[in-house]
Symmetry: C2
Subunit: 205 residues, 2 copies
């Protein structure tokens, strides 16, 4: 059965990026620290656990969904093949032509999180859909009850500043059941099933 | 070798209490949810992992340190024996006589986090010192480098509102090494060794 999962990395104090995110500084000041579990820290490489978790982001996934800010800062680092190797839907206010990067197609969706999810479902078939962020998009999906699983990777650092994954008021009273717990020196990887969300159900968006 | 550890529970979105903390509402609105791992949720009791973690809060501990707000809202629920069964130092601005509750003595310290730590060390001998919060006290200790270990218990819920464990700007660039990872249905229990803190070292406070 196909599911919708959200995957994101945060610091122990809840930041998904450092401050001053820009095209030249995609994860913000100090934010690359969050992704050591994906790319190593210059000393330690990701270990087998990190590699397993990174691989699972793709292994049964048929479409990705990202916000426009994440697209804008990511499209450079994602390189000539677009990194995803499958359809990626970008939620934006302004329509633009589909962008093809090797095996990755970036389609721009202007009818919000519901529209992006419908389009992702149409191409994903019985595969899963991965919502990658940023935080604002992820919160919206969580609150509407559209997310079956939250896969949270926690980097063992206090950033102190940046973009919070969970703003005040977001996702109030969402209850989770933790279904997996793995750790490496570079991150703690948790999978949570969404047990209840106060908002709409997925079928209503 | 004696160590200083901080132990606190937070929600997945980083709240250490719900909103509207008061003597009648010690953990704030919805905040009792955070402590299901200690007291059960009315359906599930804490399991063996939760009990182990709760027990370790006391097993090699010689003194506790808390802030005045935590004392004010806690002293009722802590009951006639004061819950700790050993010296507990309360950081406050106003001196008051030591309060004895069965085997627990609450001593009021007016010379700040450094003073409380010195007094706690004096009575703890070769046992550990547990900093229990609240968030403001814990952040101050973390930032000064006084904490050897952070024991974080994460409840699988988004509270959406309340007192953040880590305020913006607090504990900037503290790096941790995760040394243990345990999970129960009611919480994820992580122990982090503080690898580097940008502030003073413990010997300087």
């Amino acid at each position: 059965m196909s599911k919708v999962f959200a995957q994101i990395t945060m610091s122990l104090d809840g930041y998904a990026t450092g401050p001053n995110v820009s095209v030249d500084n995609p994860l913000g000041d100090g934010g690359e620290r969050l992704h050591y579990w994906l790319f190593g820290d210059g000393f330690k490489a990701p270990d087998a656990v990190d590699e397993q978790v990174a691989g699972e982001m793709f292994s049964n996934t048929g479409a990705f969904i990202v916000g426009k800010t994440m697209f804008d800062v990511g499209i450079g680092p994602w390189g000539d093949d677009g990194a995803f190797g499958m359809p990626c839907f970008v939620i934006t206010h302004h329509s633009q032509p589909t962008l093809i990067k090797g095996p990755t197609t970036f389609s721009f969706v202007t009818d919000g999180i519901g529209g992006a999810l419908r389009q992702a479902r149409a191409v994903a078939g019985d595969k899963d859909i991965c919502i990658l962020g940023g935080p604002n998009i992820l919160q919206q999906y969580l609150t509407t009850g559209a997310v079956d699983e939250l896969r949270l990777d926690v980097a063992p650092v206090l950033l102190g500043h940046g973009t919070r994954l969970f703003n005040s008021g977001s996702g109030t009273a969402v209850e989770f059941e933790r279904v997996r717990l793995l750790g490496s020196p570079l991150a703690t990887h948790m999978i949570f099933r969404v047990a209840s969300a106060r908002g709409q159900t997925v079928s209503s968006i």
